[in-house]
């Protein structure tokens, strides 16, 4: 230790947050007498400009070289005070915060006891601050490129923004086409723009943008590295069609020996596709793909005398020898935009979704009313006996949402509005139909939403307050068993068609993404953001951001807004070209390290690896910390039997005196 410690202690009132419970003057007097303390002061708001000036002037005038701020949790203001003391010429890590708000004034009522506790916390901080060492944060270069995973509207928008800012963007989409769920929608609430009309231009843009490399029908296999320097490996699945040769003419699909035999994923199984297919007419890229499971040649080794598609493809694009390819690249930031799964209505067997063809989901309804859908936009449905145009139509909201019996407590936020939209679309097509919507609450919170709901009601769409309990068949009618709760009338409502307003669920395959990128889930099982209000697009992994429904249910306006937010966050390291690496990371004492590797196992961020070094002429294995990955959590330190790995600023010799100070005080 160079200079003798001269400590300044700054006790914050936090308005009355602290001062009404803690007697700050008594604490100030007490602190002045602590060993090595040169100055102790109180102030109404330490984080304010004058508060910071107070500290800076003392540093200069009194020659302070260590600072303790007794105020709130370090989460919010540690960076504030670090910056302040740095401006006054001190190393920013010569700071210690005593949390006398969250850990003291907010949780205690008795002033006497709270004051005593504040004293203890400050004593402990003073004990530690004297032992802190000067640390330097480092900067490393950031790769000026981004990876966006998932090409629904969220991923498309994020990729376009980053690419427009001038950075290379890799857009990886699992299915053969970009577009996501929005591509399946007919019109969109509340303005009723045609979904394809507003989405298709963006889909085309992201395929033709000079800065975007679109990797469709691909999946991310490996991600290594850290913010600014991620190493990514992507598997491009074999389409069995030569991407460059295929002209998208579609001769193959119409001539395919099993043409129009398989349920089309895009049409929610209501329409059919061939084994070689384009998911939908506006698909981007407009390149055909062979589904190996339905293709006769690929699944059974034989398709007539020779594969029909091969015979008819004038471009010679069919290539059964094609294999999965791998591409590897480096990026500085990653955006996850993998979207959602619609709730599987089979999980509510009381609604008979598996039994009755005229009980359909909202997603299926989108296809049914779409001009490009399986019925060409005519509302026609089978009642089990014949195809009919329904006269009596019922919607049920909150299917699979707000329902603990299926484990989904949350509201899906779009089904109130999309049922209203679909009711409107049916009203347009079937002016004489009797349409009712069974609801528990109507949540019309967005811009123009309440107005839209109002309009739909006035188009003679009846809203019945009650969530139906059961659907069964009587004759050729469906009976919706419900209660009109506003009149306390149990109902057996006979209808021709029921639309289940299914909610949004986290994707069933999200686990893979979590493992790849070390993401976690919030209680609703969607991806967890770093802070629900202040860091809504960040994750616990630096450099990895969230956009769209993978973070929670949302409509298109919110999805796009979040995608733009994620893009701007991802652009920060790319535009700076550098990322700062925190200095409070773990450090290994290579002479005492036994090379056991316990720390490697325990580190939650995979930040430690074993390396071979030469010590006194012997080759030995020791642990080495990747400072860019280390979060300074200290897990390794707890695991190490020889105390050889310790986070800086949290070394034993720094925190044991702090703990001792707490214990010694009575």
């Amino acid at each position: 230790m160079t200079a003798k410690p001269k400590v300044g202690v700054y006790i914050c009132h936090c308005g009355i947050n602290i001062a009404s419970t803690v007697d700050v003057e008594t604490v100030e007097e007490y602190a002045q007498k602590l060993p090595n303390v040169k100055v102790a002061r109180t102030y109404s708001y330490m984080c304010s400009e004058p508060g910071q000036v107070l500290i800076k002037e003392d540093i200069k005038e009194q020659g302070l070289n260590r600072i303790v701020v007794a105020s709130c949790s370090p989460r919010m203001h540690e960076p504030t005070f670090r910056k302040a003391i740095q401006e006054a010429g001190l190393n920013p890590y010569f700071l210690e915060m005593a949390n006398i708000r969250e850990q003291c004034s907010w949780v205690h009522e008795d002033t006497g006891e709270a004051t005593e506790k504040a004293k203890k916390l400050i004593t402990a901080s003073v004990a530690k601050v004297r032992l802190l060492e000067a640390l330097e944060s480092k900067e490393v270069d950031a790769e000026p490129a981004a990876l966006v995973i998932g090409a629904g509207i969220a991923g498309i928008q994020a990729a376009l923004d980053i690419a427009d800012a001038g950075f290379k963007t890799y857009l990886v989409e699992k299915t053969p086409s970009v577009g996501g769920r929005m591509a399946q929608l007919d019109k969109t609430f509340p303005t009723l723009d045609c979904s394809a009309c507003i989405l298709t231009p963006k889909m085309v843009d992201c395929a033709s943008h000079p800065n975007i490399e679109l990797l469709s029908y691909s999946e991310v296999e490996e991600v290594g590295g850290y913010i600014g320097n991620f190493d990514v490996k992507v598997r491009k699945k074999a389409r069995y069609v030569d991407f460059d040769k295929c002209t998208g003419c579609g001769d193959c699909a119409s001539e395919c020996r099993v043409a129009d035999r398989f349920p089309s994923e895009f049409d929610q199984g209501m329409g059919k596709r061939s084994a070689i297919y384009l998911p939908f007419p506006q698909a981007v890229p407009a390149k055909y793909t062979i589904d190996p499971e339905s293709c006769l040649y690929l699944s059974r080794g034989k398709c007539g005398k020779s594969p029909k598609c091969q015979e008819v493809c004038g471009a010679g694009a069919i290539n059964f020898e094609q294999e999965d390819e791998f591409v590897e690249f480096k990026v500085g930031a990653i955006i996850v935009a993998t979207g959602f799964d619609p709730f599987d209505a089979s999980r509510k067997p009381e609604y008979g979704y598996d039994d009755y063809p005229n009980v359909i989901t909202g997603m299926e309804m989108e296809r049914l009313v779409s001009a490009s859908g399986p019925t060409g936009g005519k509302v026609l449905i089978s009642n089990g006996e014949e195809e009919i145009e329904p006269k009596e139509v019922a919607f049920i909201k909150c299917v699979g949402s707000r329902d603990e019996s299926v484990g989904n407590e949350y509201c899906s936020r779009v089904c109130c509005m999309y049922t209203a939209k679909q009711a409107h679309l049916i009203r347009e097509k079937l002016p004489d139909a009797n349409i009712r919507i069974y609801y528990m609450d109507v949540r019309a919170f967005g811009k123009g939403y309440e107005e839209f709901y109002d309009r739909v009601r006035r188009e003679n769409v009846r809203y019945i307050r009650g969530n139906p309990s059961e659907i069964f068949k009587r004759g050729n009618k469906l009976v919706v068993k419900a209660e009109d709760t506003l009149t306390s009338t149990p109902l057996e409502d006979e209808v021709d068609m029921v639309v289940l307003g299914v909610g949004l669920e986290p994707r069933a395959d999200m686990r893979k993404m979590m493992d790849l990128l070390r993401l976690s889930q919030s209680p609703d099982r969607f991806f967890l953001e770093a802070h629900p209000k202040l860091r809504p697009v960040d994750t616990a992994t630096d450099g990895v951001f969230l956009a769209g429904c993978c973070q929670g249910p949302k409509d298109i306006p919110d999805t796009v807004a979040q995608a733009k937010g994620a893009a701007s966050s991802a652009l920060i390291p790319l535009a700076r070209g550098k990322v700062t690496i925190d200095a409070q990371v773990a450090e290994v004492n290579e002479t005492t390290c036994r090379g056991c590797g316990f720390c490697v196992e325990i580190c939650p961020y995979s930040a430690i690896e074993m390396v071979t070094v030469n010590q006194f002429g012997h080759e030995v294995e020791v642990a080495r910390v990747n400072e860019a990955l280390c979060k300074g959590c200290g897990s390794c330190s707890a695991a190490c039997l020889s105390d050889s790995i310790q986070p800086k600023s949290f070394r034993d010799r720094q925190i044991l005196p702090q703990i001792a100070a707490l214990g010694a005080m009575k």
Binding site: E404, S405, M440, N467, P468, S469, F472, R474, P490
Partner: protein
């Protein structure tokens, strides 16, 4: 129990209710009775009104089918609010004499049928039945159920079971005659004190027996043990699960064939409440010649027969068609020769309905075990 200090609102989590109406919407008795269970969940919040609510006749129309509880999105058990109101009446002593006698009989004789305990095992006469002894391990310990033990119509379930178990060489034993009522109907009739006592006594009694599992004959015992007896040591299963197992393992063989159309009625306590749908169907389907039909309202959407919830002792005031009659008519329309059930109450109510409708000549109501007894051998 701590229930003493809890208010009605706390005990039944009334504040958790969002008044969605799924409970009443699903309630099967709304088509014939004035019961609106959601309204009760709403109104019971007002403690001053409880006395008035408890006097409403419709609280006795609930069959405890539990549809309301299964459908509730917030995890409430709306029917228990009705049971709570029933218990106020039971406590005041102003119950129907039939109910009073049934409860008294459970207390004194361990069964609600006003039969002496000493005759609980009369059904075993002429059969070679293995009887369990405390502390002596057995694979399958059988709990017969008061109704199966005493009611001459359904005793056949237990009798046939014994014959099959003996033939198939299953390691089993029935509980001795000090077996007592599981309390299912005591609970639903609202005799809280007696039910608490039943839980304590039966837990202590049943835990004296060592078994891999306890096999129940009635879905009511099955579900009651699984939901209200947290301290039982032996896992509890229903006999249809065991039969299914024996058939899969090839331990039962068929003699002759049953060239009949059978429709299976899901008992609420077995299906809706406990999720046992496939085993009874597999068992029936395995009988050679059987054509298994399905009700439109089956499995999770099965229609209650109105046998539970203490309804054996309380007659509904409604003059509208009984649900069991609706069920039998549906079966007739399907062209079923046999309506099969795996519950003594279902058999009694459905058979009664069949007789009322005058279908005895062309149709039959049968316990699954009845059919198995006629067409299997080990």
């Amino acid at each position: 129990m701590s229930t003493e200090s809890q208010t009605f609102t706390e005990k039944y989590d009334l504040l958790g209710c969002i008044q969605c109406g799924r409970c009443t919407g699903g309630c099967p008795v709304t088509v014939r009775a004035d019961l609106n269970v959601r309204q009760f969940v709403n109104d019971a919040y007002d403690e001053d009104k409880l006395g008035q609510l408890a006097r409403l006749a419709e609280i006795w129309d609930c069959t405890a089918c539990h549809t309301c509880a299964v459908r509730c999105p917030k995890g409430l058990k709306p029917l228990e609010v009705l049971i709570g109101l029933r218990s106020m009446i039971v406590e005041s002593g102003k119950v129907e004499p039939t109910v009073r006698d049934a409860l008294q009989s459970v207390l004194l004789e361990g069964n609600p049928w006003e039969k002496p305990r000493a005759t609980r095992q009369d059904w075993m006469e002429g059969l070679d039945v293995k009887i369990a002894e405390p502390g002596v391990h057995v694979e399958n310990l059988f709990f017969v159920c008061c109704t199966n033990a005493y009611d001459p119509r359904v005793q056949v379930t237990a009798k046939n079971l014994v014959k099959l178990l003996n033939k198939a060489g299953v390691d089993y034993a029935f509980l001795p005659e000090d077996e007592s009522c599981c309390g299912s109907e005591v609970f639903t009739l609202g005799e809280e004190g007696l039910f608490e006592m039943t839980v304590e006594d039966n837990t202590e009694y049943l835990n004296e027996f060592k078994a891999d599992r306890m096999v129940t004959l009635s879905p009511h015992c099955f579900t009651t043990y699984n939901t209200h007896f947290p301290d039982l040591k032996n896992p509890v299963i229903h006999y249809t699960q065991l039969m299914d197992e024996l058939i899969q393992e090839g331990k039962l063989a068929w003699k002759g064939e049953l060239a009949k159309k059978i429709v299976y009625h899901d008992p609420c306590y077995l299906g809706k409440q406990s999720g046992i749908f496939d085993e009874p169907r597999r068992v029936l389907k395995s009988i050679p010649g059987v054509e298994l039909l399905e009700f439109e309202r089956s499995r999770e959407r099965s229609l209650c027969c109105e046998g539970g919830g203490g309804k054996m002792w309380v007659e509904s005031e409604s003059k509208k068609e009984r649900l069991a009659e609706t069920r039998i008519k549906d079966a007739k329309e399907l062209g079923a020769d046999i309506v099969a059930a795996a519950c003594p109450f279902c058999v009694l109510t459905l058979e009664d309905a069949m007789k009322t409708l005058g279908y005895e000549e062309e149709m039959r109501v049968a316990e699954i075990m009845e059919l198995l007894g006629e067409f299997t051998e080990a």
